[in-house]
Every structure is written in structure tokens, then in C-alpha cells.
Amino acid sequence: MSIHPPLELAPPKRRRRRGTAKVSLGLISVPMLWIVMFFLIPVVLVGLYSVGVITLISYDQYLSLHAWRYFLHSSTYLGGPLGRGLFWKSMKMSLGVSITCVILAYPVAYMLALVAGRRKYTLLLVIITPFLTSYLLRVLAWRVLLNPQGVIQEMLRGAGVLQPESTISWLYNSTFAVYLVLAYAWVPFVALPIFVSLESLDLQMLEASSDLGASRWTTFRKVTLPMSMPGVIAAFVFVFIPTIGEYVTPQIVGGKGGYLFGNVIQSSFAASFDWQLGSAMSVFLLAAVAILLAIFGRYLNVRTVAE
């Protein structure tokens, strides 16, 4: 495999812009091949699998819509449009987590970008560092804090706030626990795009606004907030998408009550071996993500997330 694609395609005497198409093709082909082979084709395969074009395990039915029919009519998994199924529970969870993260991170991003001065990059690094460490460990830390024999409840018992025999049931193995831990895990990531969009704000605009008699609050409402919306939307989408398929956190701190849509996808492959149903649900989830991206895609500048 050529790791450095052939750059030397143009004959030396010619002007170098000739042959550019070939060079570009050489550069892009190997990474492109990788993505097509191990991303695009597999995703298409899942779609084909869900309707039985491909079958791999004994439960599968060749060319059948039964998985789709079952999923679309089930009250546990979907429950109709805006129903009570796990899909909508996951949607609500991700929506709640994304909004919470934005609300928690915005003031801090605002402070770092516009108030903190020269220390802002150091302080930003302080906020982001937890995100760059083990996700599993951070979720585990909450299990240690929240469980009935955990640090928080034992501390409350020690202080006499909680009776020795009683437990706070909503704190652990609950939807609330999943919500809390997901918000915790994603807040640092949200701060980043908001910070970037606020930092690129032209401070003279704020001065102009205040010179023209606007109060700070009006300036914020009419200038700063609208101009930071791309960052807010990017943050929102980049929390919503990874959390919508999440099954690890629900398993560690959510228990049965905290199960989400990701858990049924995971268990249909790992436990119940209904791969067709799992595929159908995956396709449905991808479609939801695609709709979301179609709505918000034009506000997204992925770079704000990576830099």
C-alpha cells in the first residue's frame, strides 16, 4: 500500500498545475478506499441485512420485512409517533442532556472567551482535559458515588440526613442517574465549539452596540447570542448524536429502569441474537440522525470541535 501516494506524476519540464487531477486522485484514493470499505459499505450492508438480503445466523429470514414490521408496531421499542417506546425515551434523554450541557457550558465558555483574558487557553484546557481521559472510568466514578453503598449515600447516612437502613432509590439504577452521568460526560466537549464561536466574535461589535446605547443584556441578546448560535448548534448536535446510541452508561448506572434504545440494539446482537431486528433499529436510528443533520447541517463547522 502506498502510504505516500505518487506525487511525482507531472513531467518536470511542464508547469506543475498539469496532471493535478491524477495527483489529487492518488492522494485521496487510499483514505477514501478505507472509508468506503469500512464505513460506507458496512452501513449499506446493515440496511440490506434488515430486510434479509443477506442472512448470517439461523434466526434470520431470507427476504423478509418481519423485523421492520415487528419494530414499527412494537410498543416497547417505538410505540408509534412520539410514543412511549425506548426510541422516544432515548430521543428525550439526548435532547435533555444536550440542552443541559449547553446551559452549563455557555456561561463558562462566555467567560473564558470574553472575560478571562490571557489565561483563557489554560483554563479551557482545564475544562476539556476530563473529556480526553477514559470515558469508562468517568462513568465508573459515578457508580462509586451514586450506588446505595456508595460515597454519597454513605456520607448522608454518616451525617444523619439519611436513615441507616434507607436508600435514595432515584439516585442509582434510574433514568435520572443516566441523565446526570451523560451530562457530566459531555459538558467539556460542549464548551469547546461555543468557546470557539465566541472567541471569533469581533469585540468592536459589542463596543458599537454599547456606544449606541444598548445595555449589556440587550447587547448579549441581540449581538452575542445570535452570533454564537453556530457554536451552540454544533455543540448540541455533537452531544445529541453520540448519546442517542449510548448503551454503556445506562448499563453501568441505569439498571433496568435506565435502559435506552442503544441497549436494545446492543442486546439484539450480543444477547438475543435477533440481528435483523437490531439492523432495522440501527437503520431507523441512522435515519433520525440524518434528519437531524439535514436540519442543522449548514450550521455545523466540524472544525470548531476538533481544534
Binding site: R16, S24, L203, V248, S282
Partner: protein
């Protein structure tokens, strides 16, 4: 008057900042403290200080095997993701070609797929192809999700390397390959290191894809996850995780600081060289 913030507002925002810092770090600090508790249960009561959980894991072959598997997968991922990101980033920054928007969209698309979906997709692919699952298949999957991050680490650096430097090299008779070797590549090295470290970290921490396509040889996160069912193993598992956490924080902070320093140096160096070249050219022509 500062149009961004009043005096009281500033104080409130600082409070919000420190509140967030405490919220983010307290659980991790508590975990670290209780990893030294001489008790089978990672919680109160405090039964005394011990480092035995840290000795335990060195004597646990399963943990060491899992760590070795993770190191292999993460190293392979980092090498391939970085190697693929270099030509991709150069093409995206320096070249114009047909359907570039589509290509760059596809390259970055793995950023927006729920990992559980990618995991099962690859599981179906490898099963359909009859490829046995192994740490190598896990590495293939990890490259897919690390590649966008590696590309996005290199793109800004490439943009800041003035194209004039490369043009000067070509004008002086160097081939494209020589130009890449002597000009672009050396200037790209800091971004290469960042991309390598980011890809490594992503892979080392990745659980979802690994749990579907790593086969019987568990990576460290998969092993750690499987041990959660056995509470008596928890303390020693947490001890390893703490060690890894501390190491990864050091690596991350060091690489970020390094990147910052090298950015400054790049601006100073190339800015000067490009200016000189520019004035030479305009003087000639």
C-alpha cells in the same frame, strides 16, 4: 465600560467556572482517593490506606494481557490513521478536485454515526466476508473513527504552512516528492505527533466498537467493562484505570502545550521565510 461583562457579572461567571471545575473533577478525585482504601468496597467506611490494589493488578495476568492487546490495537490505529490522514489532509487543503465537498463530507462522516451502529455494521461486514474477529479487525474499525480527528488536526497546520514555501521549492527545481520530504513534512511533524496521540487515545479508550469486533481477545476497556459484574474485582480494576488516567492526562496536557508552542514557532519561522520569498519574487517579476 466593558461591553461584555459588569463587575458583578464577572464574579458570577467566575463562580460558575469554578463550580463546573469542581463538578468535573470531584468524581475523579473521589475515585482516586478511594482506590487507596483498604476495603473490598470502593466507598465509606475508610478502613485505612493501602496500595495493595495497585500491587494486585501487576499479579493479574488477565489485566496485563488486556493492556497488551489495547496497546497493539491503539498503536496500529495511530499508525494507520496518521498515515492515511496525511495525503487526505494535503488533498483537502492544497488541491481542487471533482466532488471535493462530497469527499470531505464522507471523510468526516464517521464523526456523526452512533458508535453502536458502526459496531454492528462492521460485525456484519466481517461476518459476511468470513473474516475472523481479532484485535486487527478492532484496529480497522478504530481507524475509521480516528481518521476524521487525525485529518482535522492536520488541516489547520497545513493551512498555516504558506503554499509559497512549497512553490519556492518547486521553482528552484525540486520535485514534488522532494518538496514534500524537505519542506512540507518537517513543518507538518508537530501535527503528525498530535494526530498520532489523538488516534492512539481514541483507540485506547474505545469500548463500543471493540466489544462487537475485537473477538475473544478483550481490549482493556472491554475487560474492565466485563469485570463490573464481579464487585470483588472492582478495587484492583479501578487501580489500573487510575494509573492509565494519570498517564493519559500527562500525555494529553503535554501534547497540547507542545502543539501550542510549535504553532508559535511555525508562525515566526514561516512568516519570515514566506515574506522574503514574496518580496524576492515581486522584485524579480
Amino acid at each position: 465600560m466593558n461591553p461584555a461583562i459588569s463587575k458583578n457579572g464577572r464574579r458570577t461567571l467566575w463562580v460558575a467556572f469554578w463550580f463546573l471545575v469542581v463538578f468535573l473533577y470531584a468524581p475523579i478525585v473521589v475515585l482516586i482517593i478511594f482506590s487507596f482504601n483498604d476495603s473490598e468496597i470502593v466507598s465509606f467506611p475508610w478502613l485505612g490506606f493501602t496500595t495493595r490494589w495497585y500491587h494486585d493488578f501487576l499479579a493479574n495476568p488477565a489485566i496485563l494481557t488486556a493492556l497488551r492487546t489495547s496497546l497493539l490495537v491503539a498503536t496500529l490505529t495511530a499508525i494507520f490513521a496518521t498515515a492515511l490522514a496525511v495525503p487526505a489532509a494535503i488533498a483537502l487543503v492544497r488541491r481542487k478536485f471533482f466532488a471535493k465537498g462530497l469527499v470531505s463530507g464522507l471523510m468526516l462522516a464517521p464523526l456523526v454515526i452512533p458508535l453502536v451502529v458502526l459496531g454492528i455494521s462492521l460485525l456484519i461486514l466481517f461476518n459476511a466476508l468470513g473474516v475472523p474477529l481479532s484485535p486487527y479487525t478492532a484496529a480497522i474499525g478504530h481507524v475509521v473513527i480516528a481518521l476524521p480527528f487525525a485529518i482535522l488536526t492536520m488541516v489547520p497546520r497545513l493551512e498555516r504552512i504558506p503554499a509559497a514555501l512549497e512553490e519556492a521549492s518547486r521553482d528552484l527545481g525540486a520535485s514534488a516528492m522532494t518538496t514534500f520530504r524537505l519542506i512540507t513534512f518537517p513543518l507538518l511533524v508537530p501535527a503528525l505527533i498530535s494526530a498520532f496521540l489523538i488516534s492512539f487515545t481514541i483507540s485506547f479508550d474505545e469500548l463500543v466498537i471493540s466489544s462487537f469486533i475485537a473477538g475473544d481477545q478483550a481490549t482493556f476497556p472491554v475487560y474492565l467493562y466485563s469485570q463490573l459484574r464481579l464487585p470483588e474485582r472492582l478495587p484492583s480494576v479501578i487501580a489500573v484505570a487510575v494509573v492509565i488516567l494519570v498517564v493519559s492526562v500527562i500525555v494529553v496536557v503535554a501534547s497540547e502545550v507542545g502543539r501550542f508552542v510549535s504553532e508559535r514557532r511555525l508562525e515566526a519561522q514561516t512568516g519570515m521565510a514566506a515574506d522574503e520569498y514574496g518580496s524576492l519574487r515581486s522584485g524579480k517579476g
